[in-house]
Structure formats: structure tokens, C-alpha cells
């Protein structure tokens, strides 16, 4: 038995894989920040900072790899 096939899965299959990264980064940032602090303002501040840092690093690495790929 598998779980029933979801109607929107074929549409998700057409999406670029990069679109699956932001929700993942958001969850990682929130959970990590929540494990570090107890006060909500601190959690949200830390999570925002971490989200921007991870997304920024990924974006920079992606751009660098794309630039290198266009040169070869």
C-alpha cells in the first residue's frame, strides 16, 4: 500500500527544483533558532538572519557555478 496519489504532484514535478529550497531553508532557520532561544523576538530575529545568510550563500554559489558553466 502506498499513500494515494496526490493530484497536484505532476504539477510540482514540472517545477524547477530550486523552488523547493526556500521552504526547506525557512524550516531549518526556524527550528535552529528555536533551539537556541526561548523568547519569540529572539527566535524570529535569529531565524531571519539565518534564512538570509543561507539563502545568500546558496545564491552566491549558484551564480558562481552558473558563470563558470557559461565559460566552459
Amino acid at each position: 500500500m502506498m499513500i494515494p496519489s496526490l493530484g497536484f504532484l505532476p504539477l510540482l514535478g514540472l517545477m524547477n527544483a530550486y523552488w523547493f529550497a526556500p521552504p526547506l531553508i525557512l524550516v531549518i532557520s526556524l527550528v535552529y533558532a528555536a533551539s537556541r532561544h526561548e523568547a519569540w523576538p529572539l527566535i524570529f530575529r535569529h531565524a531571519t538572519r539565518l534564512f538570509l545568510m543561507i539563502a545568500g550563500i546558496l545564491a552566491v554559489v549558484t551564480v558562481i557555478l552558473l558563470v563558470i558553466n557559461t565559460q566552459v
Binding site: 499513500i3 504532484l9 505532476p10 514535478g13 521552504p23 524550516v27 526556524l30 527550528v31 528555536a34 533551539s35
Partner: protein
Amino acid sequence: MDHPTTATDVPLKNRSLAALLALTWPGLGHLYQGRNAKGLLYFVCIFGLYAVGFALGEGANVYWTWVNPLRNPEHFRLYYLGQFWVGLPAWPALIQATLIHQGYQPLFNGFMAAPMLDPTMDNGVREVMQEVVRRVFSLHQKYGGLKEIGDIYTTIAGLLNVLAIYDAFEGPAVRSGPTSSAEAPSTTTTEAESA
């Protein structure tokens, strides 16, 4: 010397039990401790990520096999080492793997069973497992790489729950001390005076 203030404010109760509950279901340990909002955050984030990943793989991306990784590395399920930590939602895979390993037919038509065929399997077990293998391989044709994204989502959800378990056991990692913030301005004043 800094005295942890946050730590005493956080009601950890029986922290071993809280950690066990957090391992059993994401956020459950925090609900037991009365840290309801944080428990809800962990539940939504960790279980939500796991559920989305599970759905992306149509439930065929969380499974375990009792094989020796050195002798049979292609059938060893490395992802499950992360997925396991989500708790109960991932543990049926252990039961299915154990049943198949012992030669019994897996439950629920092979739900969360490894897509593996073994020549030594009984006919009944083989029939169920052939269907599981067929479904898993058809996923690639239908949805491309969604199953792999589901693998990553479910694995990271499990690894994030390790952080939640640690938080339930030990409290938040950063503990603000009352003296540390008070010391900073006085040091600056002293330096300004000496200058």
C-alpha cells in the same frame, strides 16, 4: 560569574521523559513541558516538512533494510538514519524491514517497505514486494526528481528533530545572563574615563 536566568525560567520537568516524547513525535516533549507555542512550532515545521517530503515520494521514500552496508552498499538506506529521528511517523519502516528480514509478509501491502526483491522470498511475500518495486520505479517516470526532493525533506526533518530533542532535554542553547549586559556599558565608561 553569569547565572543562567533563562534556564531556570524554562520548565523542563522530567527532562528525560520530555526528550523521549520529543523523539516519539516532533513537539510532544515541549507540550509535556508546557512550552506549547514552541511545541507547535516544532510540530508544524518538522512534522510538516516530513509530511510534505513523504507525500512527494508517495510514501515510498521512507524505508529501511537490514543489510550490511559494507557488503551490500547499494541496498543500504542511508537516508533512513536521518528519517528515523522524526519518531513514530518513520518507525513503521523498521517493523516492515524486520518482518521482511524474518521472512514474513509485510503489513498493509508493503506500506513503507523497502523496494527490494530477494530470490529467497516466499511467493506471498514476493507478490507484495513486486508491487512495491513496480510502484517505486513508476514514481520516477511520473514525477521526475520529486522522490529525491522528498528524500531530502524527510531526512532533514529527522535531523532537525534531533535539535528539538536536545532543546527538550537541555533547554535553549543560549542563556542570557543578567550581568553580561550590565557589564558592557560600565567597561565602556571606564575606558572613556581613562582616555
